[in-house]
């Protein structure tokens, strides 16, 4: 992307009026456009990239991706490149590693481009979307049975510091794309301000499963420039869209950690002295996030798909924090990790009650998975939710104050956590097994409690007390 500066329409300016946080104000502007890409050259000859946020009355406000440290009012040159930011794409990207702005950082040359795509993308026309309905088996019971992922969905993981979101995401990436089948799949991984070790874990996991050569990695690590993070998901999703809709692949895009992305946005907004929304985040955070998250889905008449699994850490584990909140308003559900379950040693520590897959209803059922899939999932939710209430009650009034049915729910709650939810990092359960386990749990409840399941499914699958799974 950087090497393509041949454009004759570029104009150079040397009057920097102000440097403030990650932005500079360039004066004496005669020709510059909104969103235009700018190349900055410091007096030492170092080059950086920027983008126009506002232009008018002879001034342009430019955000500098690498930050402004070391920039001076005099001696800084700003070359306006006459175009917006683009990413060169081709199937040669597979197996490659790039930095957060889309430049190779694996020591190999720039891949030969098939075309150059604007990193901002364009909104997908809802009229041309194909509604997502194909079930993806992840081999993780709680996801397949209760939070089904479908092709083209955007389903984030809401996590907290120290929780095993990366392990879960990597497990999904490994198990959802069954290596060796004919499925044309790809993984696009964007590290956004995460530590080297986290990115490395992911890379190794892809390597071990043999998926690395079908992956494209974008790495903006914790010590990389913060403002660059605004671009990282955009280049990654541009590539994901290309692989999916031009080359027909089923792409799984993992973006971690979106919280760092939002913080970069906040930094720009603060430097521009914009009226803040909640917690200092800009009022347009929702729209900005949507511009990334909505880049998932399927298109009528084309083969591929972009399935997004963004990861974000909730500051103070607070789901009402604007980043988690606005994300939940845009994505098609959320997988919420629980510190309590994690402490109990349950992996994956998914708080199912707070979690949701909005597209599950479309991906399961007769002809897709199994006729009882949705109902069993609903009943498990109901039972686990009841068990949590009873658990809280038992803490106060003791077991003696509970009814007989309550005690059964208490038991079912425990079994749910140890026998259904819990599984190992390399355990790949098929759907059949997941559903069997679900019925085994429900067998511990009297038939009359199964109010979410149709009588015909109860007749077929329910065997009261048939099993008392312990582990």
């Amino acid at each position: 992307m950087l090497s393509d500066f041949s454009s004759s329409s570029s104009v150079e300016y040397t009057k920097v009026a102000e440097i403030k946080g990650p932005i500079i104000v360039v004066d004496g502007i005669t020709k510059a456009s909104f969103d235009e890409l700018v190349e900055i050259e410091t007096s030492e000859g170092e080059r950086r990239l920027g983008r126009v946020l506002e232009v008018g009355y002879g001034k342009a406000i430019v955000q500098i991706f690498e930050g402004t440290s070391g920039l001076a009012i005099t001696g800084t040159k700003a070359k306006f490149l006459g175009k917006t930011m683009v990413m060169p794409v081709s199937n040669e990207l597979l197996g490659r590693v790039f930095d957060g702005l889309g430049r190779p950082n694996d020591g190999l040359p720039e891949p030969i481009a098939d075309k150059f795509l604007d990193v901002n993308g364009e909104p997908m026309n809802p009229e041309r979307r194909e509604y997502p309905t194909s079930f993806i088996q992840t081999g993780v019971s709680v996801i397949d049975g209760m939070l089904t992922l479908v092709r083209g969905q955007k389903l984030p993981i809401f996590s907290g510091s120290g929780l095993p979101h990366n392990i879960l995401a990597a497990q999904i990436a490994r198990q959802a794309n069954v290596v060796g089948t004919n499925e044309d799949f790809a993984v696009v991984f964007a590290a956004i301000g995460v530590q080297y070790s986290e990115a490395q874990y992911f890379k190794r996991s892809l390597e071990d499963s043999g998926a690395l050569r079908r992956s494209v990695l974008f790495l903006n690590l914790a010590d990389d420039p913060a403002i660059e993070r605004i671009i990282t998901p955009r280049v990654a999703l541009t590539v994901a869209e290309y692989l999916a809709f031009d080359l027909g692949m089923h792409v799984l895009a993992i973006l971690t950690d979106m919280t760092n992305y939002c913080e970069a946005l906040r930094e720009i907004s603060a430097a521009r002295e914009e009226v803040p929304g909640r917690k200092g985040y800009p009022g347009y955070l929702y729209t900005d996030l949507a511009n990334n998250y909505e880049r998932a889905g399927r298109i009528k008449g084309r083969n591929g798909s972009v399935t997004q699994v963004p990861i974000l850490s909730m500051p103070a584990d607070d789901i009402t924090h604007p980043i988690a909140d606005l994300t939940g308003y845009i994505t098609e559900g959320q997988i919420v990790l629980s510190r309590e379950l994690f402490r109990k040693g349950v992996y994956p520590p998914v708080n199912v009650l707070m979690s949701l897959s909005r597209l599950m209803k479309d991906g399961v059922g007769e002809g897709k998975t199994r006729g009882d899939h949705m109902e069993v999932g609903n009943q498990l939710y109901d039972a686990y939710s009841r068990s949590q209430e009873v658990r809280a009650l038992a803490d106060i009034v003791g077991r003696a104050g509970l009814t007989g049915v309550d005690l059964k729910y208490l038991d079912v709650g425990d079994k749910f956590e140890t026998y259904y939810l819990k599984q190992s990092v390399d355990e790949n359960r098929n759907l059949e097994e997941t559903l069997t386990r679900a019925w085994d749990i429900l067998a511990n409840l009297p038939k009359g409690e199964l109010t979410k399941i149709k009588d015909k499914n109860i007749e077929q699958y329910y065997k009261e007390g048939s099993k008392h799974p312990t582990q």
Binding site: R129, E274, T287, A290, E294, G328, I330, A400, K454
Partner: protein, 596 residues
């Protein structure tokens, strides 16, 4: 004279242009070389402040801005139904034909197909004196909908000097001419109307007829009336969209306008995919034949999101003026408010609470005020209504934030969605203690006359059980359920049955998705009867555990999805089983006592 100026400043969707002295406030303008569509939202000297409805990426100071002389308007005529538009009435299908799966900028389209021919039947005669709003003639827009061609509401009326005979005409054909003071006004099958201006009517009435949505918690407990207003606030995942989809699917209105304002693309696609296959239970026709969609998804330009609400409500008023009941659902009004906030921020206006402009409340009021049940202009005499239901997406599910608190002031039905209920998979997660309906008394006459004279009492008795449970829950929380006397335990059990069997309703179950008023009433009746009979037994000294283990209980709860509407008489069988089981307990118990 059209204004011609030059861009002097660009920041996101906001543009300032100089040399615009002759442009009018709210006039649409063409911005830049690629002729992006924009609207003037403030004028200072020769500088026009413009919100641009398309991406401004690449736009540059110095590019031209040209006025159109017209305020932002919609084109109203046959061909609207079944379409999906963007926020400024551009058909997404036409856009797709020009730019493929992704929406490019600078695309111009016509909202309705002016070349399409319709079979027109005149309703006027030469020499008649006509007023604004009078029906010129009719065409079949869809098999479900007769479309009345109206004399535009801003017409001064006159005498009919020409009217075409019955036949097939396209929309550019002049179908009638009226004369007023020697001036001739040719009329076509469509007219334009500015979106920010409410369409006039003759007279307004109080809404008294319920909008039947087939959703039990709505129709039975918190009804909305045709021509009324309602809001459905809730955190993410609580069921706003599903509830609005349900209303759009099953409401007994003639036309549905669905506005997707700053929400997910797939949710619009879902409607597009589903509605053509869903059959309206009353007319047996596909639901798409009465539906129009306005989609400005979250990733589409933010200014057009602001406009989409007005585009939608103007279309709704247009069908109201034909004498139809129209339902408008807007998902989500919070995104519209945020669009206002964003533009206001770029205008550098003084913000009020949470950065929202101080005019947020008045804009909300103006929007909900466009709902109502009215007598339309002109003749023949006809009444129509626009019902407005808006989703509200409070940040952090906190109902004290500005959009929710202001909305509450202007609506009469409030469906409060509850995150805790959603977490426990109680759907729709409408909190029955916080929600209310200002139309309860108004619609009870309809229920009494059309469904059952017991409606009001049954509703009250069942609701009373829920209220009592709410108080008892406090005690249970401290002492456990076993601390309660049997009669109160029965209230808890009863509330559980009502919650699962009546309030919870699964939109995705073939049978449960729609529950007609008759079935609603019968289900409530069964529950209330069960409660009364159980109470009697307890008073007779029978034990609660016998009642609890009655096999009829799961059947009562599941009747909602095991017994379809067409077989509502089967509920009678349930009732007699229930009677039998109660009698068994009576006799059984005596046997036990004999043994002891």
């Amino acid at each position: 004279m059209v204004a011609k100026g030059k861009i002097v400043w660009v920041s996101g969707p906001a543009v300032r242009a100089d040399g615009m002295a002759s442009v009018k406030m709210y006039e649409t303008v063409e911005v830049g070389e690629s002729k992006l569509i924009g609207e003037v939202i403030r004028l200072t000297g020769e500088i026009a402040f413009i919100q641009v409805y398309e991406s401004t990426s690449g736009l540059r100071p110095g590019e031209p801005v040209v006025g159109t002389g017209q305020p932002l308007s919609v084109l109203l005529g046959p061909g609207i139904i079944g379409k999906i538009y963007d926020g400024i009435q551009r058909p997404l299908e036409e856009i797709a034909k020009k730019s493929g799966a992704f929406i490019s900028k600078g695309i111009s389209t016509t909202p309705i197909d002016l070349k399409k021919k319709y079979h027109f039947k005149p309703a006027l005669k030469i020499g008649e004196n006509v007023k604004a709003g009078t029906i010129i003639g009719t065409i079949e827009e869809t098999p479900l909908l007769t479309h009345s061609i109206l004399i535009p509401p801003d017409s001064s009326g006159g005498r009919v000097i020409d009217i075409t005979g019955e036949g097939d005409y396209d929309l550019e054909q002049i179908i009638s001419t009226i004369e007023n003071n020697g001036i001739k006004f040719p009329l076509k099958m469509y007219h334009k109307w500015p979106v920010r201006k409410p369409r006039p009517y003759t007279e307004r009435f109080d809404p008294t007829v319920p909008l039947i949505t087939g959703q039990r918690v709505i129709d039975t407990y918190f009804p909305i009336a045709k021509g009324g207003t309602g809001a459905i606030p809730g955190g993410f995942g609580t069921g706003k969209t599903v509830t609005l989809h349900q209303i759009a699917k099953w409401a007994d209105s003639k036309v549905v306008v669905y506005i997707g304002c700053g929400e997910r693309g797939n949710e619009m696609t879902e409607v597009l995919v589903e509605f053509p296959h869903l059959i309206d239970p009353r007319s047996n026709r596909p639901l798409m034949e009465r539906t129009v969609l306005v989609a400005n998804t979250s990733n589409m330009p933010v200014a057009a999101r602001e406009a989409s609400i007005y585009t939608g409500v103007t279309i709704a008023e247009y069908y109201r003026d034909m004498g139809y009941d129209v339902v408008l659902v807007a998902d989500s009004t919070s995104r519209w408010a945020e669009a206002l906030r964003e533009m206001s921020g770029r205008l550098e206006e003084m913000p009020a609470e949470e950065g929202y402009p101080s005019y947020l409340a008045s804009r909300l009021a103006e929007f909900y005020e466009r709902a109502g049940r009215v007598r339309a202009l002109g003749s023949p005499d006809r009444n129509g209504s626009v019902t407005i239901v808006g989703a509200v997406s409070p940040s952090g599910a906190d109902f004290t934030e500005p959009v929710t608190t202001h909305t509450i002031r202007f609506i009469k039905t409030f469906w409060a969605l509850d995150t805790r209920l959603a977490y426990s998979r109680h759907y729709p997660s409408i909190n029955w203690m916080q929600s209310y309906s200002g139309y309860l008394e108004d619609v009870s006459k309809w229920w009494t006359e059309n469904i059952s004279p017991d409606w009001y009492n049954l509703r009250a008795e069942s609701y009373n059980i829920l209220q009592r449970e709410d108080t008892l829950k406090e005690i249970v929380r401290l002492l456990g359920p076993e601390a309660l006397p049997d009669e109160e335990k029965l209230v808890l059990e009863m509330a559980r049955m009502i919650k699962i069997g009546i309030l919870q309703q699964n939109s995705f179950d073939k049978i449960d998705t729609y529950c007609g008023p008759e079935k609603q009433l019968k289900l409530v009746n069964l529950m209330v009867k069960f409660y009364k009979e159980s109470l009697k037994l307890l008073k007779e000294g029978k034990s609660l555990s016998d009642i609890r283990s009655m096999p009829i209980i799961p059947s009562l709860i599941k009747a909602k999805f095991e017994i379809p509407d067409e077989q509502v008489s089967k509920l009678k069988d349930l009732e007699s089983q229930m009677d039998t089981q109660f009698n068994e307990i009576r006799s059984q118990k005596e046997e036990v006592e004999l043994v002891v």
